[in-house]
Assembly symmetry: C2
Homo-oligomer: 233 residues x 2
DNA sequence: TCGTGCCAGATTGTATACAATATGGCGATT
DNA sequence: AATCGCCATATTGTATACAATCTGGCACGA
């Protein structure tokens, strides 16, 4: 029992992650949470000491985030957190609408009974959170529901693509809280979607989800344009 | 006029590319062309001398390609060119169908007269190449047409996403040439799409493009399953 | 006063050296 | 003879050093 090194004594979950992988996760979280503001420059050395890694893994992480579109790299001029451009968000929503429709359709066809039940449970929770006026909880449950629907579609490519688009929308959304009326409408749209799911009506579920996405887009874009240009920097 | 260095005398477009950027382009081309076979390992040092760069930019390039899904990284075990999994290709095609529909719809609404004319011209060219039996030329024109349609949609996010999916499909397609009958059907489907475009019927154009994608998917997947598992390694 | 060219500082891009981990083969033990 | 454990080798992960490029400001001249 003295030279057993293939198994660690359970002190920490084997730390199989590489540094740049972890850096990607942390940076992404920082960007999505708004800790790194859109349009702000990202000095490498500063982030290095902040994350406790060297420049090499950090730069690899920046390349990955650039491929995801969360940062932009300009040769010899450093990286900037991708600014939130209302036109780009509009474009993202356009694609998102198609993805939601596809996800809703496929989820309806491929979801298990357990998954539909889980969806029902989450929807009830959503409703309760709306009644309680808990915006944050509602928001989180809402994301969870949509993620579940996408998962039910059994399509890894759709899942990955959806996640990428959702992250871009999330950034815009955190800057623009929409109003009470839209909130109520949103819940009603969810009701409709759930009704379609309960009837296993794939076509309707898909188109209702698409419509829901379109309505959300309008609200978010209106809020973005309302806030104006100070979001850019 | 002796020390003007801000403007180069037009000898080459200012060479603004970084090494890792170029490496990404070259590696992607090598993967898409099949020069790097699916499933094959990718030793870093070998690629370094092959591309004439150091490990640092090469590794950054590999991270980018991993984010695109063209290679897979396993910690301490190197990178492999993502194997072609028929199930994954099927999933990709499912999303692609939705993207084609969206692209067709938007292109119809937003294309300029000049772009529609250009599309007509390309379609005539496609037809001629079919009559001449020139598969390669047909294939290239086909890709060009679809790219043009996506461009007409005026949606950068759609464009980028479409390109990513198209590249994955391209790899599978190069392994599986479909038969004469499918070729003829494909041309006929293009005829239908063009007819819808000429009438500026967005809904029909979108659904026909989606159907075209679905048919293509069936043919490619059939060919993939026909070839069998030797494609994996 | 304004514009231009140049330079110092800072930051990024790349190369290389070192550390950590996986792989394959060898020998000891049962 | 077969299996298990260990070690040498190769490959990847990370850190650091050096080169190239950009930025901002200043002096010079028109």
């Amino acid at each position: 029992m003295d030279t057993v090194k293939t198994v660690k004594p359970s002190a920490g979950p084997i730390r199989r992650e590489t540094l740049h992988h972890g850096a990607v996760a942390e940076l992404r979280a920082m960007i999505l949470s708004g800790e790194l503001r859109p349009g702000s420059r990202v000095p490498e050395v500063q982030l290095c000491e902040q994350l406790g890694v060297s420049r090499t893994p950090l730069r690899e992480a920046l390349r990955v985030l650039a491929a995801e579109g969360l940062v932009e790299l300009r040769p010899h001029r450093g990286a900037v957190v991708t600014p939130i451009d209302p036109r780009e968000i509009a474009a993202v929503f356009e694609v998102m609408e198609a993805l939601e429709a596809l996800a809703g359709d496929l989820a309806c066809r491929r979801g298990t009974v357990e998954e539909f039940a889980e969806l029902d449970r989450l929807h009830d929770q959503l409703h309760a959170q709306f009644d309680a006026g808990d915006r944050l909880a509602y928001f989180l449950t809402n994301r969870q529901i949509h993620a579940r629907i996408v998962a039910m579609a059994r399509n890894p490519s759709l899942d990955a693509t959806y996640a990428g688009f959702a992250s871009k929308i999330l950034r815009a959304r955190s800057l623009a809280n929409y109003d009470e009326e839209r909130w109520r409408d949103s819940l009603n749209e969810h009701e409709g979607v759930m009704a379609a799911f309960r009837q296993r009506d794939a076509a309707v579920a898909g188109s209702l989800l698409a419509a829901h996405s379109r309505q959300t887009a309008e609200a978010v874009l209106a809020a973005l344009n309302g806030c104006g240009a100070e979001l850019q920097t």
